[in-house]
């Protein structure tokens, strides 16, 4: 049997700000992973990535990242994506700070 497909989100960095962004089901970009589209079908993943890359004029380096469904939307499965959605551990900078200021 083929290995089960690990669900994905599409993520990139914003061209102007440089910060981490995620692709939504509405073909827009969000700063919150929980609002990203969770792609559960392997065939769909590549098509969605092509769709995201159509917006390369305002994003950089879109790729598919492993994710899983959580109670509030997609969550990372690997610590790299955990850091990307949170910010560095030595200062309260990046996303964690932005979220605290909401």
């Amino acid at each position: 049997m083929a290995r089960a497909f690990t669900p994905k989100v599409i993520t990139a960095n914003d061209l102007l700000e440089g910060d981490v962004i995620y692709f939504t089901a509405e073909d827009t970009w969000t700063r919150h992973m929980s609002e990203a589209e969770l792609i559960t079908d392997e065939a769909d993943a590549q098509l969605r990535l092509l769709e995201a890359e159509k917006q390369n004029i305002k994003i950089v380096g879109a790729y598919l990242a492993d994710a899983k469904a959580g109670p509030n939307g997609p969550e990372p499965t690997h610590f790299r994506e955990e850091f990307r959605r949170t910010g560095p551990s030595n200062y309260f900078h990046g996303k964690q700070e932005a979220q605290a200021n909401v």
């Binding site: 960095n13 061209l15 102007l16 981490v20 950089v60 610590f79 790299r80 551990s89 030595n90």
Partner: protein, 554 residues
């Protein structure tokens, strides 16, 4: 100190204007990221995990107070209020915005700083001994030669697209503080029969295949420096592999072809290339030497120093660890630790950067240095000024007395910032420093260098740490490999792996066990960690790290 002339300033302004236009063209969509990426990298702009990163070169680690203040300005105006000093005598800013980068580069250009060739397959910023021009035992100041190399290599048409990045380091001392044996080319200025020349070392490097450089030429006369370097690079351009990025560094070329072949080919190329140099470079060199002339060192009583040293134990502890012997009477080299216990190694706030600039202006003959060990140096200070300097440093959290000690850790940005990282390095450094500060053991432990990288690229020099730590990703969790016995000095050596790696929450206890073992088996308090390791080898440390394995054997 070397002053950029009008030509340099015009060149920088022009480069920055070009970059500004390139940024605009990326934003309006005329350039794709594929087209823009090499252009931004040529100007020191990376895209990291959370943001862009700007890497600014500090040629041969030398800065004047105005340049230092410009670094503070960048941190404050366009970043998050701090800068990160790196092992390559650079400063990195972790949070700039794309639109601000051209302004940042302009602000740097005004004080003669730039980010050119801090990236890409070019000849990178030539690094130098951070005590250059000040160390008591130095043959001669290596920086005029570093400047000659910088001018020759900047925008040199043949060397913009090398097989891979190319790093040169230079020292004028027997004590190697520039890790010349871990660079593509390492140069040591030496004197032979009254003649100044260089010992040329080639093929050192860290990264995934660490190697200690080999001697290519025992003595190269001063006048032959550029033609000989050009010959080394010409041979590299011909012989070097371009099929595989990981085999493209000169260390691989040298080890695959053998140092003797490399030497023979270099010498042959040199016969032709030498004739193409008409001596203009040597005239330039003489000009640079004038720019780098030592200040007029003042003479004064050192009584203020002696009194403070006698009466103030905090000052004495700092003086004992953070001062080095200066060549001029009554003077000292003062290293400012950017490694406060628990803080990020190499990070200085805008305010701290300004304080250091002011101190250099007021007491330090207007000179500052950045070391590859991520500290800042006042290379020339009269001893009588040290109590005042120390008092000021204390007020700003800059008086940590830990130079060369276990908390004076080199750490790369790791997974907290770096796109290539496989694990974090900064928090590991923070926790080790905090732990040994709590134990109050660090002065007892003495000289011990810990170096940490967040992936095999080895930006944190872990291979040459007495204790090296390499962060890896093992099946989706952070895992840390330890090496022992590395050495970044003139006795350069690559460390040996202890065995299986340690989880994130096991790494600090593991380091503690290594240190306890050392304290238990050293012959006396004078025997340093590396000396003990050389005497007893790996076994006692292994036994302490892997008690289970030891039991099985027994």
């Amino acid at each position: 100190m070397y002053k950029y002339n009008e030509f340099d300033e015009a060149f920088l302004a022009e480069r920055n204007a070009q970059f500004r236009a390139q940024v605009e063209r990326r934003i309006d969509g005329s350039l794709t990221e594929e087209e823009f990426r090499p252009l931004r990298l040529m100007n020191g702009v990376y895209l990291q995990l959370h943001a862009y990163m700007l890497r600014v070169a500090i040629p041969y680690g030398t800065l004047n107070p105005d340049q230092m203040r410009a670094l503070a300005l960048l941190a404050e105006k366009w970043d998050r209020g701090y800068g990160h000093f790196t092992t390559r005598q650079n400063i990195q800013y972790n949070w700039p915005k794309l639109r601000d980068l051209p302004d940042m580069l302009d602000a740097l250009g005004k004080v003669g700083l730039h980010a050119i060739q801090t990236s890409g397959n070019t000849i990178r910023n030539t690094t130098a001994d951070h005590f250059a021009g000040a160390a008591a035992e130095e043959v001669t100041d290596p920086r005029p030669y570093a400047e000659l190399i910088r001018q020759w290599s900047t925008d040199h048409p043949e060397f913009q697209f090398l097989g891979r990045k190319f790093k040169i380091a230079i020292t004028g001392s027997n004590t190697d503080r520039a890790v010349i044996k871990a660079h593509d080319v390492g140069l040591q200025v030496i004197e032979q029969d009254g003649q100044i020349g260089f010992k040329v070392i080639v093929g050192g490097g860290l990264g995934r295949t660490p190697m200690i450089g080999k001697t290519l030429r025992e003595f190269l006369p001063q006048a032959d420096l550029l033609p000989y370097l050009e010959s080394v690079l010409t041979v590299y351009n011909v012989l070097g592999r371009r099929d595989n990025k990981y085999k493209a560094r000169i260390k691989i070329t040298v080890s695959e072809n053998g140092i003797d072949t490399y030497r023979a080919m270099t010498e042959e190329a040199f016969l032709t290339i030498r004739g193409q140099y008409d001596g203009t470079d040597q005239q330039l060199l003489e000009e640079f030497k004038a720019h780098f002339q030592a200040p007029e060192f003042r003479s004064a009583s050192t009584e203020a120093f002696d009194t403070a040293y006698e009466n103030d134990p905090v000052f004495r502890a700092w003086a004992d660890t953070n001062l080095d012997q200066h060549r001029a009477e009554g003077h000292a080299i003062a290293t400012i630790s950017i490694k406060a216990h628990g803080a990020t190694p190499g990070d200085a706030s805008a305010e701290q950067i300004r304080v250091m600039a002011d101190l250099a202006e007021q007491y330090g003959y207007g000179e500052l240095r950045i070391s590859h060990q991520q500290n800042v140096i006042l290379p020339h200070v009269h001893k009588s000024d040290l109590p005042a300097i120390h008092a000021k440093l204390k007020e700003h959290g800059l008086a940590t007395a830990n130079l060369g000690l276990i908390s004076d850790i080199i750490a790369c940005p790791g997974m907290d910032y770096c796109n290539l990282a496989t694990a974090r390095s900064i928090p590991v450094a923070q926790e080790i420093a905090t732990r040994f500060d709590e134990l109050k053991l660090e002065h007892d432990i003495g000289h011990l260098q810990i170096k940490i990288s967040g992936c095999i690229n080895a930006c944190g020099h872990h291979h040459v740490g007495h204790i090296g730590i390499l962060g890896l990703d093992r099946a989706g969790v952070e895992n840390y490999q330890i090496t022992l016995g590395g050495d970044a000095s003139e006795n350069a050596a690559i460390g040996t792996r202890t065995g299986p790696g340690f989880a994130y929450d096991e790494i600090v206890p593991a380091v503690e066990r290594i240190v306890e073992t050392y304290l238990a088996i050293r012959e006396n308090a004078e025997e340093t960690f590396i000396e003990t390791y050389r005497r007893v080898g790996m076994d006692p440390f292994k036994a302490a790290l892997y008690p289970e394995a030891a039991k099985k054997v027994a």
